[in-house]
Symmetry: C2
Subunit: 346 residues, 2 copies
DNA sequence: TTGTAGGCGTTATCAG
DNA sequence: CTGATAACGCCTACAA
């Protein structure tokens, strides 16, 4: 930096001013400095910068991701958004034993200025620790209470509502919702299945429709057993809304082989699903896609704004999923209990 | 740190020695210092540390990941391995316009001590830039020439060989290989399809078997057309080896509906595939799983060793995929041209 | 608009 | 084994 200053015949401070845009500098000196920087290939040292400014310009994304489904779009968008604003995103593996210690030291050591948390549970101890450590943070997802916290979340309520209304509009009246059963797993308080279920129940009631909820674990056995469950517990169902990737997938694949045509006999919509494989199904799955990268970007931008002193009121942004039409949905069938066929087969 | 020193009645230097294990310190002073650290809740400041030691203890993982398939296991393992050794992993979005500049500044600014590169292409400009910038780096994957570079890679040769031999052992003699056609994409020189194809050709020849290669693009149209292609160009095929997730998936799903039973008429094996959905297929897909997290971990550890002064010869580790048996493979059928049926239909 | 100079919190060298 | 102390490279009042 001194070399740059010498070459441009200014002081080291002035170099700093133009490099950071901290203070106004006359055009001609700026040009001289920029030229010198260029000729010397100078890059400011980030450790020194961090030390002097007390800012690491690093955002930590808490790891591990227990649920690996569509999270790389969050991560991706977060990293990009951070980079655009001169920040770096570091992956911060957090082992469950001493969450509190690790979070405290993350902030106190100055390794990161702020934290992004995803896979937030309704009651999440990590949030408490972050608060206590006075660490700036933003959530992708949200806790039960969000007072004073910046959050972005999928609007499950709206997404489920749209899915239901779309199907109701073409005559369906008997719905089933499939959500993941996370009880007993580390993700037990994970909000998506819970909020989806609530939304489903409410919308069904308010529309005067019929609905049954199925909670299905992640393992393939449970998923494969689902079709029979449906037939037993809700054979009149003509429209299925699935917030469970594997389940939607498995149903579209297996039901036609067992005589239940999709969508002639039964309609299926995925909600907040990873869409990747849906196109290869026959028929292609109708899906409400999760707004993964907007969520990652918004959370990052909100956090950075906060880091840079914004005193705006806490953000609570909720983004609905967007429809990607497939061919797994259609008008309600005349046959009012298509799933009965599964039972007849035995 | 000064406070810790005062409280333990030692100099600041001694505190540094115990915190870093840099120099021997008598047990009793060490204990006093540790106690003081604990009582004061002291954490060493990472920026100051980085500045004084000229080491950021940061590893940059180059972004973007163009191919999002099974990379989170790499990333995951890399982040964890780094953390275990006191390093942080930052995601470094790299835009294609000025790769050289960005890599240079990444290193020269001291934001990272080393770099991990994945999705390496046979001739990869990023590698050249890293070399020129004298940045320590390690590859997941490898370039055509790997002189002096630490690499870990999937052993495609061995994996394909195993897949072929397993099937040959149960009577198959007519093989097809399905790889992704990446020409015209940013991943054009991506090694996996290329190496797989080479390996396939060689093994087929050396075993005196018959084999046909199919290069299929990523889009669902191409994938859906594949079955007919197979029937046209290689109707005698009884065993398919697919290094193309969607293709394997699609075939297992669609062929049975068109009268080609799996595995009675035709066997299918996925190689280096993401296994997630394979279990939900009917039949479940037989797969050689990519060793994602060992690769991420090994690369990270090799890089860190290098950063810490190891002068071991460059590592070139190759890990074969491991078999996860499914039910999509079986003995060769008596019918020697099962795919003919597709043509008869169409 | 530009310059001066005192930190920022550690590490590392060199004595003792 | 322990203590002083000079960097490390930059930021930022404060002065000019």
């Amino acid at each position: 930096m001194q070399q740059v200053a010498d070459r441009a015949r200014v002081s080291i401070a002035t170099v700093s001013f133009v490099v950071n845009g901290t203070k106004p500098v006359s055009d001609e000196t700026r040009d001289r400095i920029l030229a010198a920087i260029d000729e010397l290939g100078y890059r400011r040292n980030s450790a020194a910068r961090a030390l002097a400014s007390r800012k690491s310009r690093v955002i930590a994304l808490i790891y591990p991701l227990l649920d690996h489904r569509h999270h790389h779009s969050f991560v991706d968008a977060a990293a990009t958004a951070a980079e655009e604003r001169g920040y770096n995103l570091v992956l911060w593996p957090l082992h469950s034993d001493n969450v509190s210690r690790e979070i405290t030291s993350l902030i106190q050591s100055g390794s990161a200025d702020g934290v992004i948390l995803m896979e937030v549970q309704l009651d999440d101890e990590r949030v408490d620790h972050l608060r206590r450590a006075e660490a700036p943070f933003a959530l992708i997802g949200r806790t039960r209470e969000t007072d004073g916290i910046d959050c972005v979340d999928i609007d499950f309520e709206r997404s489920v509502e749209m899915a239901i209304d779309d199907l109701a509009a073409v005559g369906h009246r008997d719905f089933a919702l499939i959500v993941e059963d996370l009880s007993g797993t580390p993700l037990a308080g994970y909000a998506p299945p819970i909020r989806s279920e609530q939304a489903f129940t409410e919308v069904i009631a308010s529309r005067g429709l019929n609905g049954t909820v199925f909670r299905v674990t992640h393992d393939s056995e449970a998923v494969l057993a689902l079709a029979d469950d449906l037939a037993r517990r809700a054979p009149q169902t003509t429209a299925i809304i699935s917030v469970h990737d594997e389940a939607a997938f498995s149903l579209v694949m297996s039901l036609p082989r067992r005589g239940v045509r999709i969508p002639e006999d039964l309609s299926i919509t995925g909600v907040a699903t990873s869409t990747a494989m849906g196109d290869l199904l026959e028929p292609p799955l109708t899906v409400y896609d999760a707004p993964g990268s907007p969520l990652g970007r918004l959370a990052t931008e909100a956090l950075i704004a906060r880091l840079e002193g914004s005193s705006a009121p806490p953000m609570l942004q909720r983004l609905a999923c967007t429809l990607r039409p497939g061919e797994s949905t259609g008008p309600a069938p005349a046959d009012r209990a298509p799933l009965d066929r599964l039972l007849e087969q035995g």
